[in-house]
């Protein structure tokens, strides 16, 4: 998949030129022993004219230079082929958990209850995991399962339920962004790559890594045994999934807690929760427009400042990310045009050499040819440079994703707060009703049976509400703690990641990574090549 094929030139003919010239560039041998179309001249002639040029510089091989996709997703190196990566180093970090997504397959959905015969098709992916973690079987564990995208959605939903307040990585989109149009094959590849990135991000989140949901997703073969959403009743019945420990303290408390209370620890959802949603909506309106301040408010000033800063940060991050994309494109375009120019030089010099009717034309031929070669090599250098630049600047994109996750964590916090506020005001209104009733019934001598009953009911409701409120408050505090821990982690990791990114980006501009890695003896930079070419031309120019 060559994503830079989509970069057409301004005019239609330009695009055709581009395809042509890339083919020509690919056929242009490094040692100049044969040249594209007009190579009718004797090979020996040209070979004898080979200069020191060719031994100087060993640019990356064709395949690497030309076919490196800018989209090469994998920093872990498992992109296109089916070969599994090398065994993990047993002495590597004990928290090693790495995931590969491969082998997309089309499958048929058996639509037993659909009216239309046959069914819909969907794709499944092979999810391969290698890990050292004890929960997964200890060092050297390796296993594969097959999953479809729907499963990933389920996983993602369950994780956001269980890990409220954490910066849980955002899953890939279900459908294409409006502006994108692509073939199915391209879409599948894009999705595969996005899934791989997503799962690895989950794996490197310190809390999520240890989650049961993720483990089940990665390990259990066959149908994914995760319920789509957390329906408390079904959770209790579902033996395969342990209730998250952090939620309900010990088992006894878990058993004792009423359904009502534990429901308070989850955000309101449709169906049974409709009533609750309405109440919370009423509460949030009261918060915004009411004259009375709610009983519980976000007091953490530090948090509020942090949040404000994050808004500004996100704005700047988004801005630089956009400019980075433009920069990469500009670098790519420059490289391509340089290559086309080099090719045009080659054609011109071949033509002049062959059709020369005077010796004066042949004089310059060698020098021109060398310059042409230099230009083509410069083009490959740009391409290489760019592939690395993309990898570095991609960090910026990644952190935009982290910002989304952070927003999710903050909205967990505010919805938990809203629940607390709602329950608080419920409690207050219950108390006042009780008081009113008590006051009214005290005026009647001997008591008022029905009112007494009413009062008892209300008191019972108040008790339950009180319990629910404590649960909600505990949950809110828990989420606040998670937020704080995550923010700290975010700061630390961001600092390291961005510093690495900057250094990597700058180092790359100075010398492309592959050249660094080659470490060959006579490694001249492009500028040396060009300077030599310039000198060759300048040598005979006595009056320059």
């Amino acid at each position: 998949m060559m994503s830079h094929e989509n970069h057409g030139d301004e005019d239609a003919s330009g695009y055709a030129d581009l395809r042509e010239s890339r083919d020509e560039m690919e056929s242009l041998a490094l040692d100049d022993s044969s040249n594209g179309p007009a190579s009718s001249s004797s090979l020996t002639d040209r070979q004898s004219r080979r200069t020191a040029f060719n031994s100087i510089l060993e640019p990356p091989s064709y395949a690497e230079a030309i076919f490196t996709s800018f989209d090469s997703s994998s920093s872990n190196g498992f992109h296109r082929n089916q070969n599994l990566p090398p065994r993990p180093d047993p002495f590597s970090h004990s928290d090693f958990l790495r995931i590969w997504v491969s082998d997309p397959r089309k499958e048929q959905e058996l639509a037993a209850n659909s009216l239309v015969p046959g069914g819909t098709t969907y794709y499944t992916y092979l999810i391969t995991t290698r890990t050292n973690l004890p929960e997964y079987g200890g060092p050297g564990s390796e296993f594969s399962v097959r999953r479809r995208f729907k499963d990933v959605v389920t996983l993602s939903d369950r994780l956001s339920e269980s890990y409220r307040g954490f910066f849980v990585p955002i899953r890939p989109d279900k459908s294409l962004v409006d502006s994108q149009v692509m073939q199915m094959g391209q879409f599948v590849e894009q999705r595969r790559s996005a899934l791989e990135k997503y799962l690895n991000r989950l794996a490197s989140h310190p809390a999520v890594q240890k989650s049961e949901e993720l483990r089940v997703f990665l390990v259990v073969k066959g149908k994914l045994p995760l319920a789509k959403s957390i329906d408390v009743a079904s959770r209790m019945l579902d033996g395969a999934v342990r209730l998250p420990k952090q939620l309900l303290g010990d088992a006894a408390a878990a058993a004792a807690a009423t359904v009502e209370a534990s429901q308070a620890t989850q955000p309101a959802r449709g169906g049974r929760d409709l009533l609750r949603m309405l109440r919370e909506l009423k509460q949030s309106v009261a918060n915004d427009w009411g004259r009375v301040k709610p009983l519980v408010v976000e007091e953490d000033k530090e948090f509020l400042e942090r949040k404000e800063w994050l808004v500004e940060f996100e704005h700047h991050l988004s801005n630089i990310s956009k400019e980075a994309e433009t920069l990469v494109k500009a670098q790519q375009d420059t490289g391509e045009t340089m290559g086309e120019l080099g090719l045009a030089f080659v054609k011109l010099t071949n033509f002049e050499t062959e059709e020369a009717i005077l010796d004066s034309q042949r004089v310059r031929a060698t020098d021109m040819k060398n310059l042409a070669t230099a230009a083509v090599k410069a083009s490959r250098l740009y391409r290489e440079l760019n592939a690395q630049t993309v990898k570095h600047l991609d960090k910026l994109h990644e952190y935009l994703g982290v910002m989304l996750a952070a927003n999710g964590a903050f909205s967990d916090r505010s919805s938990a707060l809203l629940t607390v506020q709602t329950l608080s005001s419920d409690l207050v209104s219950l108390q006042s009703r009780i008081e009113k009733l008590e006051a009214a019934s005290s005026k009647i001598f001997g008591g008022d049976r029905s009112r007494m009953r009413k009062i008892e009911d209300l008191k019972e409701t108040a008790r339950v509400t009180e319990d629910a409120k404590s649960c909600a408050v505990r949950e809110y505090e828990r989420i606040k703690d998670n937020n704080r821990d995550e923010l700290e982690r975010f700061d630390k990791e961001r600092h390291i990641d961005f510093m690495d990114m900057l250094k990597g980006f700058v180092l790359n501009q100075v010398t492309p990574r592959r050249w660094q890695m080659r470490g060959r003896i006579s490694q001249r930079k492009l500028s040396d090549m060009l300077e030599m070419a310039a000198e060759n031309f300048g040598f005979e120019l006595l009056f320059s």
């Binding site: 120019l341 011109l348 930079k525 300077e531």
Partner: protein, 400 residues
């Protein structure tokens, strides 16, 4: 910024005392916008320094505009058939671009080269029209210029010739002759093919060169934008990381300036010379067309003479009283035929010399252009690498 002088002015190289050495050097400078609105135009200062006896004095300064140069080119083309007249830059098509600083500079440079090529050409430098161009006052120039709109004023005899050309061409077509008469000279054929193909190759190289200039500019712009964004992010981050971003941003903006500069250099010292040679080759094509015309005239006259000879003999046999008239006609035609043959042969001779001169000059000029290209790219690559390299220690400081 003075571009490298690509054509040498003056003639020989031996170091005799300057005053005894004939020289003619011209420069086109100082573009100034004159006039208003639709009729606005650019005028240039043309400074001539010479010791040629035919000239009024050692130095002369006149004011000229683009259409004056066109006048000169047309006059030379008409008078010096066979010689490759140096090309002129095109009239600008796009209105808003006409007065941009870059376009004006490109045009000035091209006009300067144009005049200097004429001044250093052994035959062209003797031209009276050149003298007029370099010395006449503005009013005279304006008169001459408006006099010569479109078709040149021709002598009656030439008019007759044109008439005859048209006639014979029409009759050829009517009679079903496929092609007009052409030389059957294999070497000349080879030359013609060479010229036509050369134009294609040069045009392609020029097209990509122009695109490369644009790419440099785009890259420069994106570096500038990226730098600004990095600085903003740096200010937001604060502390060491913020400083790192700010340093990166500043460096990026510096590089942007380097790129814009290099883009301009690339345009003036590489892309323009390539474009110039595309035009030069087109001028050669015009000369090729002239040669074809001259050849055709010569052939047609030769044929007409044969017919007249036969007619004359017939008349003489019949002792017709039309003999006298026919004899006079025959003599005139003979003279015209000789003239046409002379014209054609002159063109052939001149072209042979010209093609040698052209190739030598092209080799030199292209050499300079490619040298500039390589130098510029090396300079750019070094500049970029150095700039980024100088950032590394600063980043180290930030991360410690």
């Amino acid at each position: 910024m003075e571009p490298q002088q690509r054509s040498v002015s003056g003639s020989s190289q031996s170091p005799r005392s300057p005053s005894s050495q004939p020289f003619l050097s011209v420069s086109v400078t100082d573009p100034v916008k004159l006039g208003n609105g639709v009729q606005a135009y650019i005028s240039y200062r043309v400074i001539t320094k010479t010791n040629f006896p035919e000239y009024q004095g050692p130095e002369k300064i006149v004011i000229r505009r683009y259409s004056d140069f066109v006048w000169l080119r047309d006059r030379l083309f008409e008078k010096y058939k066979g010689i490759f007249i140096p090309p002129l830059p095109e009239k600008s098509a796009v209105e808003k671009f006409r007065f941009s600083a870059e376009f004006i500079e490109m045009r000035r440079q091209a006009l300067d080269i144009f005049v200097n090529r004429i001044a250093s050409h052994q035959e062209l430098q003797q031209s009276e029209d050149l003298r007029t161009f370099l010395q006449a006052d503005e009013e005279m120039m304006e008169r001459l210029r408006s006099h010569e709109t479109g078709i040149f004023k021709k002598k009656p005899a030439d008019l007759m010739q044109i008439f005859k050309d048209v006639q014979s061409r029409v009759s050829d077509v009517v009679l079903g002759k496929e092609k007009p008469v052409e030389e059957s000279n294999p070497e000349y054929e080879k030359l013609k093919n060479y010229v036509f193909e050369l134009e294609n190759h040069l045009a392609e190289a020029q097209k990509h060169a122009y695109r490369l200039v644009k790419r440099h500019r785009e890259l420069g712009q994106s570096l500038s934008d990226f730098g600004k964004a990095a600085k903003l992010l740096g200010a937001c981050e604060g502390n060491a990381l913020g400083k790192a971003f700010s340093e990166l941003g500043a460096k990026s903006e510096t590089l942007s300036i380097k790129l814009q500069k290099e883009a301009h250099q690339l345009l003036m010292s590489f892309e323009e010379p390539l474009k110039d040679y595309v035009r030069a080759v087109q001028s050669i094509k015009a000369t090729i067309a002239e040669r074809a015309n001259a050849f055709r005239q010569q052939c047609e006259l030769a044929e007409t003479i044969k017919l007249k000879e036969i007619n004359l003999d017939k008349l003489m046999l019949t002792r017709s009283d039309k003999v006298g008239e026919a004899e006079i006609e025959y003599k005139e035609l003979k003279a015209a035929s000789e003239e046409a043959t002379n014209r054609f042969e002159t063109i052939v001779r001149l072209m042979n010399e010209e093609i040698v001169r052209f190739q030598e000059q092209k080799t030199v000029d292209m050499g300079i252009a490619f040298h500039e290209f390589a130098k510029g790219q090396a300079r750019l690559a070094n500049g970029i690498a150095d700039a980024w390299r100088s950032l590394l220690p600063k980043l180290e400081v930030c991360s410690s």
